[in-house]
């Protein structure tokens, strides 16, 4: 059966080629072709999933592709284990939802065919990445994923921000990718293999120890940092929101950005072999989680809020992996894929209706967009992590992982992030869907082709959590049977987490729903205070003060740092490359004799440097 797994990625590739070659003529059928292809991929993936539920042993198949002398060999192959089948299902499923949704969302767009070709190409690359059995192939598909996301982000070429965002995503991730590539090469150099299973075995048997192991793990992590938008390479993700919203749902929420997390999970033994590397992963993840969550609290653009939320949640997953919580990280990846895709698609539905991204120009939409509003509420609750929604289970798993690892600081940080998460997502919800309608825009419910995926995803966001225990055994199986699942059944952790969520919700409710504290009227600060006291919101007020005058200032400061400093550094490197190019170009002055001069001068320099350093010449000079 495994021999036929290649069909899963090849179907979308075929769809991409067909749609691309059909050009304008294929406009009408483009959506159906690519959605149809991915539908069959999903069916096959589900078959694999079912088969692996029964027998979760990893299976591998490979062929030799390039063979240079010595032991430098490149293989083409597939590795299928529980992690793979989960990713296969997640990718094909979200991709199918997004493609169906896109048929409605992009109905009016001129470049529809191009869009579906790109999105199929992206799905193909992502599936190839998931299936690859060796790191070189992983890297190839990794780059292909980057390329197709570059094309999709810059899809609306006429918007200069879109074009720039595409370029930026490409340039920024390149930094991480470079580290990843070097990591792979170093690994290949020392272990003489790129095969994931063999690398894992080598790491477990202690062949990757000390500085080397740490070094390799961190280099690979660099790639994950770039792709999964971890600090400090997270800056491309918010900008990437310039692309069409379904693309954001697919690439920047559910699949591509999860590739970094997937990568770390894929070569998990390499990381567990080095405590330092695990520490770095955990703290980079933890810091990113809280850092991005604070920024999300002050954004006005609906997609930017979700983008920072994604960065924050990916940080969460990284933190889980860094704490050794393999299951927690992968499970959160899965649930997050469902509810974040839903959030984005719902946001897209809203944008589609009101033609703006600014949340302050929306409002009261729940009445006119019942399905969108309801499904978004479900997703928000799931993101916030309220029992019994899926987010609750996966987040608790992460917090437990931190507890198991004995990292109390990360645990506290995680709980605080949960508070912030709850705050910003309900802030979003209240501002957009409740209150007075800002009726400059008509706003109407989206067509069924768009709401159907919303509802399907909503069901998953709600229900996935109940299978947590089942998944846990299944996922952990891919690490080898000898690994025990530790759990300190601590009641306090979920309780604290729930309290944090409640706090966040409460503040969002007060500020943005009840408008108990007007967010705009700074001048009425004192009457406000009075009102507050009268309404006995005194305890809240301390926190509110914190939110308004400390948190928001800190967040705004961080946001500024983000856009100016980190961003600037990246743009600087690209700028430098262009300057170098322009400078070298000026050497080609166009005058014939300058060329001749360069020729002869080159000859003289080479001659002198060869002659004066040559031992035979030195010997005869008196």
């Amino acid at each position: 059966m495994i021999n036929h797994a290649w069909i899963i990625p090849v179907l979308p590739l075929a769809a991409a080629v067909i749609v691309a070659l059909a050009g304008k003529r294929g406009d009408r059928l483009a959506g159906s072709i690519s959605a149809g292809a991915i539908f069959f991929s999903l069916i096959i993936s589900l078959k694999f999933f079912a088969a692996f539920l029964v027998n979760p042993a990893a299976k591998e198949v490979s062929w030799v592709w390039l063979k240079s002398a010595g032991n430098l060999t490149l293989e083409v192959g597939m590795l299928i284990d529980p992690l793979t089948v989960i990713m296969l299902v997640v990718v094909t499923f979200v991709s199918l939802m997004v493609q169906i949704y896109s048929m409605g969302y992009m109905a009016e767009d001129e470049g529809k065919a191009r869009y579906f070709a790109f999105i199929s190409l992206f799905t193909f690359s992502m599936l190839g990445l998931v299936l690859a059995n060796n790191l070189v192939m992983v890297y190839m598909f990794w780059e292909l994923v980057g390329l197709s996301s570059y094309l999709l982000i810059g899809f609306w070429y006429h918007k200069p921000e879109a074009a720039n965002a595409g370029k930026k995503a490409f340039v920024v991730t390149r930094f991480g990718d470079l580290g990843f590539l070097i990591g792979i090469l170093v690994l290949g150099y020392f272990l003489n293999t790129f095969n994931i299973i063999e690398v894992g075995t080598a790491a477990q048997t202690g062949k990757l120890t000390g500085g080397l192991g740490t070094c390799v793990a961190l280099l690979i992590f660099a790639g994950a940092v770039g792709k999964s938008a971890q600090f400090p390479l997270h800056i491309w993700l918010p900008d990437a929101m310039e692309g069409p919203t379904p693309v954001s749902a697919l690439i920047h929420a559910a699949t591509m950005v999860a590739a970094g997390v997937f990568l770390v999970a894929r070569v998990f033994p390499v990381f567990t072999a080095s405590d330092t590397a695990m520490l770095v992963v955990a703290y980079v993840g933890g810091f990113t989680a809280i850092f991005a969550a604070t920024i999300a609290c002050v954004q006005d653009d609906i997609k930017r809020i979700l983008a920072y939320s994604t960065v924050s949640q990916l940080g969460y997953m990284m933190m889980a992996l860094g704490c050794g919580g393999y299951f927690a990280g992968v499970f959160h990846l899965m649930t997050h894929a469902a509810f974040k895709a839903l959030l984005f698609l719902a946001a897209g539905s809203v944008i589609h209706a009101v033609h703006t991204n600014n949340i302050w120009e929306m409002g009261g939409l729940i009445k006119r967009m019942g399905i969108t509003g309801t499904t978004m509420l479900i997703a928000a609750v799931a993101l916030a992590g309220v029992f019994p929604f899926s987010g609750f289970f996966s987040k608790d798993a992460i917090l437990f992982a931190a507890l198991d690892a004995g990292r109390m600081d990360l645990l506290v940080l995680g709980i605080f992030t949960a508070l912030l998460t709850s705050f910003y997502i309900f802030r979003l919800f209240f501002v957009v869907f409740t209150g007075k309608p800002n009726s400059t825009q008509p706003g109407h419910e989206s067509p069924a082709v768009m709401t159907m995926p919303l509802m399907t995803l909503a069901i998953l966001s709600l229900g996935l959590g109940f299978f947590a225990a089942r998944f846990e055994h299944f996922i952990v199986a891919s690490l080898g049977a000898n690994r025990e699942i530790l759990h300190q059944h601590n009641r306090l952790v979920p309780m604290f987490a729930f309290l944090a969520v409640l706090f966040g919700f409460g503040w969002a409710y007060l500020v943005y729903f009840q408008k108990a504290i007007s967010a705009t009227l700074l001048t009425r600060k004192f009457s406000l205070l009075y009102k507050l006291l009268k309404h006995k919101y005194f305890i809240d007020e301390i926190y509110l003060f914190f939110v308004r005058y400390v948190m928001l200032v800190v967040s705004a400061g961080l946001a500024w740092f983000d856009r100016q400093v980190v961003d600037g550094a990246v743009n600087g490197v690209a700028w430098l490359c262009r300057r170098m190019g322009a400078g070298i170009r000026r050497l080609q002055v166009g005058r014939l004799q300058a060329y001749i001069f360069a020729f002869v001068l080159g000859l003289i320099v080479l001659a002198v440097s060869l002659l004066v350093t040559h031992p035979d010449v030195m010997a005869i000079i008196p």
């Binding site: 080609q588 166009g590 005058r591 004799q593 001749i596």
Partner: protein, 101 residues
Amino acid sequence: MMITLTHYLVIGCILFAISMYGVFTRRNAVALLLAIELIMLAVALNFTAGTRFLGDAGGQIFAIFVITVAAAEAAVGLALVIAIYRNQKDVDLDRLTILKG
């Protein structure tokens, strides 16, 4: 004192360097082509001298071919100079800078 191969090589080198100066500095395309012909002359001399002192016939044969190719080069050069002249009414190399960058 005998005249040796080295003597001829020295003359060859001097002629080579002189023509290189011409190649660097002449603004006129015809003058530059003439300087290149001088290089070929220097090379032909080197090869001829080689045969005489080294006892291998290849040098002189090589020299014959070098001279032949020099003639062909002159013909091609003339054609190009005429083409350039037709385009810009002179053969000033400093004005030949459409292609650059």
